[in-house]
């Protein structure tokens, strides 16, 4: 063994990121519709429909309560589904990663590029939802601008989480399990459409301890409503630590799968 310390990452991860950006932008018209349409539909159905039965939740109107949750969910879905189904297709069916690693790109570059792209998709979604929510008057300026850098952090976490499942999934169908068993419960039980404190205490503990979306929603809500408290910092720290842990795990698992 040669005692050479080799840094597995390089600036080249940006090339993988760019490849995905190029293909995404080619179909930008279809890709840009959901982030515009989703908040519209949700605000109409839940905000005006359900919201008419609810005067106030935690001191704010119902549409204002769910608006940050809508961004959070979009951020989660964008990164998670990009790095599960889409990455799986690139990895397994298109053999894109196999081709890339015959060039100076390392597998670490490839996966990091994919994760950064997942985070970027979350950012793009947040960016596109922003004007819609602003037009409805359900988010406040200027604190709401903070959701943009935050969507990158949150997106990176969900991208890493998704990539872990991609790495261990025997087929593309088995990726349905994490979608049903993790993403759907998170969608409902992370303080998204009703306050968490309505739930039994053990469920609250699980939600705060294990569900990243809980923290994402808490932070987004703080930013969108302009309530910046110390709790937000705690949540951001939780998310940063989780990303720092999950990203290397995702890369390790992918390496184990692809480098044989």
């Amino acid at each position: 063994m040669t005692p050479i310390v080799r840094i597995p990452f390089s600036y080249r991860f940006g090339k993988v990121w760019r490849r995905n950006l190029v293909t995404f932008m080619r179909t930008w018209k279809v890709n840009f519709i959901p982030p515009f349409l989703e908040p519209l539909l949700y605000l109409l159905a839940l905000g005006l429909g359900v919201g008419s039965f609810i005067t106030q939740v935690e001191g704010v109107s119902y549409p204002r309560f769910i608006a940050p949750a809508l961004i959070s969910i979009a951020v989660m879905n964008a990164a998670f589904f990009e790095c599960t189904y889409s990455s799986y297709v690139r990895m397994y069916y298109q053999k894109t990663f196999d081709a890339m690693i015959t060039t100076p790109l390392s597998i670490e570059d490839v996966i990091l590029g994919e994760l950064c792209w997942g985070a970027t998709r979350s950012f793009i979604y947040a960016l596109l939802m922003f004007p819609v929510l602003l037009a409805f008057g359900v988010i406040d300026l200027p604190s709401s601008f903070l959701i943009f850098p935050f969507s990158l952090l949150a997106g990176f976490l969900f991208a890493s989480l998704g990539m872990c499942f991609t790495a261990v999934s025997p087929g593309i169908d088995t990726l349905n399990y994490p979608s049903f068993l993790l993403i759907t419960p998170m969608f409902l039980f992370s303080g998204t459409f009703f306050p968490l404190n309505l739930l039994p205490v053990p469920v609250q503990i699980v939600a705060y301890g294990l569900l990243p979306l809980t923290h994402v929603v808490a932070v987004m809500r703080g930013f969108c409503l302009g309530i910046l408290s110390l709790d937000l910092l705690l949540s951001i720290t939780w998310l940063a630590i989780a990303s720092t842990l999950l990203c290397p795990v995702a890369i390790h698992l992918m390496k184990k799968r692809l480098i044989i």
């Binding site: 080799r6 760019r18 060039t103 100076p104 390392s106 480098i259």
Partner: protein, 299 residues
């Protein structure tokens, strides 16, 4: 260029490459032949620095394959056995996109892309999406892609499998051109004719081991002989040959007699054994291959 010593590759309990030694010199075409599952692709992937070796040593351009993968990969062009063109891009964009991975500036990349498209006669298809290409065109595009970084070493894993004779001849011709320019080529193939035409030296692998190594002509001469006379394997022919104490092999419906003097044997068969038909042909690499690796299926 490439030196392998005691090179081993295992997949769990399967020994895909079993302590092989070989050395590829600069400027030569080096062929790996062997039945399915012999370990050719496993060996190629180790040289490409995409699959880690289990044991032994492997250097490419004088660098250890696991210590310097980026530096090595920068100067290698790879045609993998399985197509992996990027279906999200057109023919030309596949080349441009690949050039990016090698840090080739974009104007240089488009110059090279156009050059390669005309080199492999793909210009008409340059804006076509990959899904619309036939298998043969895909293979040609993969070869073009492998050349985008002007590699010093080309690694081709069954480059012509599935190609029609025209396309195969085109690729042979292009490869010969590249070799005259000083490129080094390592290739695997199941076409013995291709190996005999293209390769300066070949190794024949079976079950992870290298059985023989040499130039195609030398291997044919040493392991088989000069000419092969073939006749129908009837009882009369066999009896007749045994009577005249001529050694022969049976291959399916035919008897084969290896000889440096095909005239003598032919005359004998026609006159003494009263045969109507005999065929004489020079011994070929295929005979060597079958002799070394047998006639039974491997996988």
């Amino acid at each position: 260029m490439v030196v392998a010593e005691e090179l081993e590759k295992r997949f769990g309990d399967v020994v895909a490459v079993d302590h092989i030694h070989f050395q590829v010199e600069e400027g030569e075409v080096f062929g790996f032949l062997g039945p399915n599952g012999a370990g050719k692709t496993s060996t190629m992937r180790m040289i490409e620095c995409v699959s880690p070796k289990t044991m032994g040593s492997l250097t490419v351009f004088g660098m250890d394959s696991e210590a310097h993968p980026r530096e090595i990969k920068q100067h290698i062009g790879v045609v993998p056995q399985e197509n992996n063109l990027d279906p999200d891009f057109t023919v030309r964009d596949n080349l441009i996109q690949f050039a990016r991975y090698f840090d080739i500036p974009v104007d240089e990349a488009s110059r090279r892309a156009d050059e390669l498209l005309s080199f492999l006669q793909l210009e008409e298809k340059k804006n076509v999406s990959i899904e619309k290409l036939s298998g043969g065109l895909r293979r040609r595009l993969i070869l073009a892609r492998a050349l985008i970084n002007r590699p010093r070493l080309l690694i081709l894993d069954e480059p012509t499998t599935g190609l029609d004779p025209q396309a195969r001849h085109l690729i042979w011709e292009k490869l010969r051109g590249l070799v005259t320019q000083g490129n080094t080529v390592i290739l695997t193939t199941h076409y013995m004719e291709e190996a005999a035409r293209l390769c300066d030296r070949i190794v024949i692998m079976d079950q992870g081991r290298i059985l023989e190594e040499g130039t195609p002509q030398a291997l044919v001469k040493r392991l088989v002989g000069d000419y092969i006379v073939e006749a129908d394997a009837t009882v009369e022919v066999r009896n007749c040959l045994e009577q005249h104490r001529i050694p022969f092999d049976t291959a399916g419906e035919k008897v084969q007699i290896v000889t440096p003097e095909p005239k003598l044997i032919t005359t004998l068969l026609l006159e003494e054994c009263h045969l109507e038909q005999v065929a004489v042909r020079p011994a070929s690499l295929e005979d060597v291959f079958l002799k070394l690796t047998g006639r039974t299926l491997r996988e």
